[in-house]
Structure formats: C-alpha cells, structure tokens
Amino acid sequence: MISQAAMAKRAAPVLACVGLLAIWQFASLGLESDSFPTAIEAIRAIPDILGDKESLINILASLRRMAIGFGIAVLLSIPLGLLMGRSRAVAAFFNPLLMIIYPVPKAALMPIIMLWLGVGDITKTLVIFLGVSLPVIYHSFEGAKAVEEKMLWSGAAMGLSPLQRLVRIVLPAALPEILTGCRTGLVLALITMITSEMIARQSGAGNILFNALDMGQYDTVYAMIIIVGAMGICLDAVFERVRARLVRWSEPQFDMPLSFS
C-alpha cells in the first residue's frame, strides 16, 4: 500500500516536468519563431540523436571525460581537504593557492591550457577536474575541521596512529559534508564538460549542440538541452541515493531531500 502522501511525493516531480513542457509548447506556438521549436518537435528529435551512432559516440566520450575528471578530482581533493582541515601548516600552504583559483571561471583557463595541451581529451578533462576540485576540497576541509576533538582522543587512546585517525575517524565523521561537496562537484562536472566542448569543439555532447546551432537545426539544439538536462537529473538522483545510504547514520529522521530521487 502506498499512502496518499507518498503518491503525491512521487507524482510531484513528474507534474512539474509536464507543466514546464506545457508552458514551453504554448509559448512556442504563440511566438511562432523559427529559432524556438515547440516542445513536441524537440522531443521528437531526441530518438534521432540517440539512434545516431556518431552522436552516441560523442555523448559517451563526453561522459567518459566527465567520469575521469570527476573521479580524479574526488580522489585528490578529499585527502587534501581533510589534511587542510586537520593541519594548520597544510592549510596555510594551500589556502592562498586555492583563494587565487577559486574565483577564476575554470573555462577561462581553457585557452591557456589548450595552448599547452591541445584541444584533445586531456585539456577538457583537466578543466572538469579543476571545476570539481574546489567544492570537494572546501567541503572536505570544513567537514574535517568540525570533527569533535574528543572523538580523535578516543581513537588515540585506542592506539590509532595519526594517519589511521585521519582515515578511520576524520574521513567517516566528515563524510556527510564531503558528499555534499561531491554532489555540487557532480553538477559542476556536467557544466564544465559542456562548456569545455563549446570552447574546444571537436567531439562531445556540447559539440553536437553547437554544431546544430550553427546549422540552424533548432529542434536538435533543444533536444540536446533536454538530453543533457536529463543526464544531470539522473546522475544527481543516483548520487543522492548512494549518498543517503552512506550517511544514513547521520540523517535527521524527517527531512525533505532536494532531489528527484
């Protein structure tokens, strides 16, 4: 038996999407502009894109770069953030560096990186890596800083070495905060992925989108926007599930997650 409240909760996101598409449809019918296809036209273009081998290869290449960039960023940023949160010296060393990088739009670095590394995978992956790193470092840092000292003392009394305390106490204790950073990082990975492909056009989902724009295939442009948006929503929903599982021990009993899962 699904309760009415649970049903309403599940139906709500679907209704929101349908509502949005309906507004789009009527707006575009009303405006009658060539560059603003109706929602139905855009949706109809989706199977053509996903059925086309070339497009599919492009989209998968995008996803691969995103996964690699995100993965490496997370693997390096978490330890760095944790160390910064627990060691004044490490924080003092890296803080100014990060403060300089932080406000710079990572895409703005692309021309320079392209000069050095070309327009290939490495450049784009590097930009994704940079985009993901900062929020993950920041949240790991905040999480590590907030770890209750008596918890570390308890560990030390049991005989845990400083490194063991970092891995087995600071890391799990900061995990809720770290995963919040990773979730922001995931969305940023998607954004930097598309942006990088817009600047260095060669392959990828962004490349399809902007090629279609150049050729005036507006239904394809909008279809790609829907596809990329859907990818973002799915990735976020999957991540949110994983996150909720990992930090079940810390969740307040009644909260309303901000996600589609």
Binding site: K150, W153, S154, L160, I169, S250
Partner: protein, 281 residues
Amino acid sequence: MKVVPSRSSEWVRPVTSQQPASAIIEIDRVSQVFQTSARKDHLALSEISLTIEEGAFVSILGPSGCGKSTLLYIVGGFVSPTSGAARMKGQRITGPGPDRGPVFQEFALFPWKTVLGNVMYGPRQQGVRAHEAETQSRALIEMVGLRGYESFYPKELSGGMKQRVALARTLAYHPEVLLMDEPFGALDAHTRTRLQNDLLNIWERDRKTVLFVTHSVDEAVFLSDKVVMMSKSPGRIREVIDIDLQRPRRRNELLLDPRYQKYVVDIERMFDESDEVGSPS
C-alpha cells in the same frame, strides 16, 4: 581544617621522595597555563602533585572551572602540561595509550558505528579477532544493560544510553586506568544511581584504577577510596580525604550510615567554602 576522621594518605598523597611500590600514577608538580583569547595567560592548574595507587578509586571534586578536566587530560596524555610531569608506572606520559581509557563528559561516540561497532572498535584496533571481539563486546553491552540495542546508531540512543556505550567502549580494550570525566553529570537522578551501582559492581570485580571527576559530593563519597578536593583560580589541591567505609558498598545501607553522612556533610561544607567563583587570574 580537620573535619574528617582519617587522613592517613594510603591511596593518594602528595608526591614524596620515597614512592610506595604500588603507585600507578604520579602527578608531579604539574602546572597548566592557557592562552585565553584576551591574550592573557590563565593559570588553570598550579603545581599539582598527587599519587594514585594501583586499584584505587579516586574522585576529583571541585567547583566548575578549577581544572578537573584539564588534569584528567594531562593524565590521559591528550594535553601536555606547561610544566611538571605525569608518570604512569614510572614512565613519563607523553601521549595517549590504551593503558589509560578515557570516558568523556561529551561521550564522543563514533556516530557512524552502531553500538556494537563502537564497543568493538578498541579490541579490533588491538588486534583481537573479529569473532572474539564481538563475543566480548556483546557481553559488555549486556553488562551495561543495553542488550537488544547492539545495532542502534548513537543518534538513536538517549543520553544515559550513550553514556553506557561510552563506558562499555572504554572497558572493552581493558585499560589499566579508567579516566572518567563527570560521566554521570548529564543524567537524571534515577539513571545516575543505577549507573553508579553498575560502575561500582564492575570496579569491585576488576579493581581497575579509576580517576573519577565529579561535581557531586555524595557520588564522590559513595564511590571512592579517596576524594581529592580542588580549589579554583588557580586550580590547586585543597584536601585529600580518605573515605573509610566498608566494601562492597550497598547504597541502601550506606545512606543510613552516620559515617557516610558525616563525610558528605563535612565535604559539602568545604565545597561551599571553595565554591565562591574566583576572578580569572
């Protein structure tokens, strides 16, 4: 002031040149200075000297802010004193170790571990096999009265239950000395009494050395062999009082015992005198 019958220092005494063979902890002219945010040095402990005999139950009693926790942290090795030294079995204490098990005022349980996971943590760290550690831990959880709660997370427990888990978690790795910082301070009177009885039963069985910080005079008298009275600003030892009452102690007998009552009344009077809040030095 000479108010309490026996003051022969059998279990606790200021450090002297000749040490009794069974001294387990010696605190030797320990002072602690803290830098406060006002950039002034604050003398929290001043030249504290104390010897604790193996197997003794010693309580530290004193007004809030007199440095009881700080003294316990120094013995635990979590804080190094500004001057002086603490020694465990003749070895200078330079850091924490599994021979001294703390039970903190704030519980400090690992929130990502279940009750069982928390209690097993120490033995596992010490290299006890998983199966064996689990059997021992389950027995301890039962002993502190939490049977059935093994798979609960700390956030799902009440304050008293968390306190029991914290005690079981420390007992699990068999420290020689228990360092307990107002472990029952946050509990209701009933739970507090129950846990005092439980602690006394455990202690009478293993005779571990216990250093027990408390605000409560009856708690100190009920549990201890020695009560160390501290005074504030700067934190100093004011009196060391032997509690000469038979063991095992039964609460219902003890409450009627005039000697117990006299200890409580006398110590309470002293406590009141030292309780006026001194200005921060």
